[in-house]
């Protein structure tokens, strides 16, 4: 938009008003003056005519035109008045300026027409005789109340015109002076209005630049001052809000930057919105270089890239592991959790990623796993030889030394127990290792066959207690399983069920397919498990009643093995129990 200064907005209208007022007044004045002037002159001319009338009438009637001419010239010349005498037919008989013979008939002149009717006629027009504007007054000459001729007097009108021209010049000059004065006054007035506005503009620009320290001080009209006050109030409020926001931001910044976990926020195009110090350290990048750059360009790691793309593409929290500097000595493993970021209006604006350096943790975990496997393996050999020697000794013991036999029996029993524990530990660590390396092959297989085989291998243990095992499973039920492992899991669960069931009861094995999982349920009618033990039941070596468990010959690892097997199938194992009624172990395998 084209803008102009306040002066240029005010000045033209002011000038227009002033000038039109001057013009209107001077036009009206000039008109009045002219009317008055003409009136005066006409009266004057009539008076002069009246003065000359008797003498002219006399000479005219006497027919002394020679004398008449002389008188006309004598009277007219000094008074700058043209005197003409005409007869009643309009023929000029005498003129003070020209030879009457050379003049045409004047009968049609307006003033003559009036005069011939006996009235005084007057006219203002251009005269071809004198070549200028003239005022004419014609007075009728009477004989015996009859018009017999006309005496016409005329003066030049240009005196008046000159006067008016002069007057217009003055008015023009005056208008110019008034215009200049008006400009000056308007300039002053505009200044008075615009000065405070300019100051406020400067103040507002200062505010915009972030300097809230100086207030706007202006003097001027009430409106301007109250506008300035309103602006000052607005700025004070703004300052408060900004400070508040700044404080909150720095608080948040402090909290996030002192977190041990790395925090990265990216927008929808994977540009880094924020990265805290921990994240920069973990990813080994400069925080300041990363800011605003695309995370793909900043970090250049395929795992991270896939993780971020997954987080941006999904609508739920994502977990994953990212390996940095893979295969090198400074290999680093980061565990990441990603969530979508939403703006206040629920629009998705990016993703938030929290990362944890788990390199050391995984390293320790590996060490532990290797340690358990190695120790178990190392223990196996000595136990086998102890067992061997004890078994060799027992038949050799003399009958008169019953204590020896009893003690050797205890040694053998404990060695067997130790062997069972070591075997279980080895199984456990093997499953753990294989599932960690994702080496457990899973294939679609029939569930019923696995369950039937597990039941068959437990059959020998049921005889002593007269326990019946019932199986209900649809023939066509299949799932992605590793049959030997699943059989072992079911076996372990059945083993427990048989151990803790009352004699002559039934252990039920049921399997069915639901919408999202294949469910295998093993329920016994044992004494039940107190509720406080349920959450920790699947931990290694967790036993409810140490003495009893040992008597039953448990290693404390059976359920841990079940848990690991089911986990390697991407499934879940849970337990519910009711005191006095029995327990139900449930395995859920994904379809």
């Amino acid at each position: 938009m084209r803008t102009s200064k306040l002066f240029w907005q005010l000045f033209p209208s002011q000038l227009l008003i002033l000038l039109s007022a001057i013009l209107l007044i001077s036009w009206y004045g000039a008109l009045a003056l002219q009317d008055y002037n003409v009136e005066q002159k006409l009266t004057d001319l009539e008076a002069r005519s009246r003065l000359m009338q008797p003498q002219v009438t006399e000479l005219f009637l006497a027919g002394n035109f020679q004398k008449l001419e002389e008188i006309c010239q004598a009277a007219g010349r000094p008074a700058a008045t043209r005197i003409t005498v005409l007869d009643q037919r309009g023929k000029v008989v005498s003129d003070s300026i020209r030879d009457p013979e050379s003049m045409d008939n004047h009968r049609q002149r307006p003033e003559i027409i009036t005069a011939l009717t006996g009235e005084v006629g007057s006219s203002r027009r251009y005269s071809s005789t004198t070549n200028q504007n003239m005022l004419y007054v014609a007075v009728p000459l009477f004989t015996d109340r009859q018009v017999c001729g006309v005496l016409r007097t005329a003066v030049a009108d240009d005196v008046l015109e000159n006067t008016l021209n002069h007057l217009f010049w003055r008015i023009g000059l005056g208008s110019l002076m008034v215009s200049i004065m008006a400009a000056g006054v308007t300039l002053l007035a505009a200044r008075r209005v615009s000065r405070p506005l300019e100051e406020m503009t400067l103040g507002a620009m200062r505010f915009a630049a972030g300097d809230f320290s100086k207030k706007i001080v202006v003097s001027g009209s009430t409106e301007v001052v109250s506008l300035a006050q309103a602006m000052n109030r607005m700025v004070a409020e703004l300052d408060n809000r900004l400070n508040e926001a700044e404080n909150r931001r720095s608080e948040l910044e402090t909290v996030v930057s002192s977190m041990l976990e790395g925090v990265i926020a990216v927008d929808l195009e994977a540009k880094v919105l924020y990265m805290n110090g921990a994240a920069a350290r973990q990813l080994d990048v400069s925080r300041f270089e990363a800011q605003g750059g695309n995370i793909l360009e900043v970090v250049r790691n395929i795992d991270l890239l896939r993780f971020i793309q997954k987080t941006l593409g999904l609508n739920e929290p994502v977990e994953g592991t990212v390996v940095l500097n893979r295969g090198r000595e400074d290999e680093r493993i980061l565990q990441m959790r990603g969530a979508q970021l939403f703006a206040a209006d629920k629009a998705r604006i990016g993703a938030l990623i929290v990362c944890n350096d788990v390199t050391r943790l995984l390293h320790l975990e590996n060490l532990r796993r290797d340690f358990v496997a190695n120790v178990s393996h190392e223990l196996k050999t000595p136990i086998t030889s102890i067992k061997g020697y004890v078994e060799t000794l027992i038949p050799e013991v003399a009958d008169n030394q019953p204590h020896f036999r009893e003690f050797l029996g205890i040694i053998l029993k404990q060695a067997n127990r130790l062997q069972a524990i070591v075997e279980d530990l080895l199984t456990l660590s093997r499953i753990e290792q294989e599932s960690h390396r994702e080496e457990i092959p899973l294939a679609a297989g029939a569930i019923k066959m696995v369950l039937a085989e597990a039941i068959e291998s437990c059959a020998t243990r049921t005889f002593g207690k007269m326990i019946e095992i019932s199986l209900s499973c649809p023939d066509e039920l299949t799932a992605r399983i590793n049959p030997p492992l699943l059989e072992q899991a079911v076996n372990n669960l059945l083993d427990n069920a048989i151990k803790y069931s009352r004699p002559e009861s039934t252990v039920r094995v049921e399997a069915e397919a639901t919408k999202e999982a294949v469910v295998i349920r093993i329920s016994d009618s044992g004494p039940g498990i107190p509720e406080q033990h349920l959450p920790r039941l699947f931990e290694r070596f967790y036993v409810i009643d140490k003495a009893r468990s040992r008597k039953m010959g448990g290693t404390g690892l059976g359920l841990a093995i079940v848990k690991h097997i089911v986990q390697s199938h991407d499934g879940q194992v849970t337990v519910t129990s009711e005191m006095g009624r029995g327990s139900i172990f449930t395995i859920r395998l994904p379809v």
Binding site: E269, N294, E297, R300, I302, L305, Q309, R326, G327
Partner: protein
Amino acid sequence: MQKHLQRDMEILKNKLITMGGETEDRVYKATLSIINRDAKMANDVINADREIDQMEVEIEEHCLKILALYQPVAKDLRLIIAILKINNDLERVGDLAVNIAERGAFLANHKEFEIFFDIKKMASKVESMLTSSIDCLVHLDVPLAHKIRAEDNEVDAINREMYERAKEVLILNPDHINFVLHTISAGRHLERIADHATNIAEDVIYLEEAEIVRHTPEVYES
């Protein structure tokens, strides 16, 4: 218009970086499958080649779209041309990774043979060259590009050494010929990957300095 072009170029660059990352990953896994004699990993690489091919097609289409829509000039045009060529290089690297993985699948069934040259050193050199070449594309880092050209000589040296060793092995155990051929093939593929990485670096030099250095051997201090 300019803004749209910049946006499209940004997307294109991201796609190329993603593809770079994916190929790096393939090469890493392929060489690892040879070093660890891991048949499963080798098969993973062999089966995943379609993804890289898909990406190549996508990037090429994107380049053509930008060329048709915006008729870019000067630097933008050079970037598009460079991306088209690098795209090709990366796709070839992806194929080579598959070839190496196929060797890996074979060698995994012959764990009794020792690999007769330092494939670990060669692989890590080649991988670092590939990573650096994509890095120098991302940051338009010309000095790094020159460094990659220098590194190529080292890989060539290892490659020559590999042939010498292969001859020695064959003279001692002529019946190992099958195994030796597979190993040599893997080494050759690694060397080709290094060449592609060098190509990418040279394209980056062209992109930044508008000077084609491809066939002008440079003397590097090593």
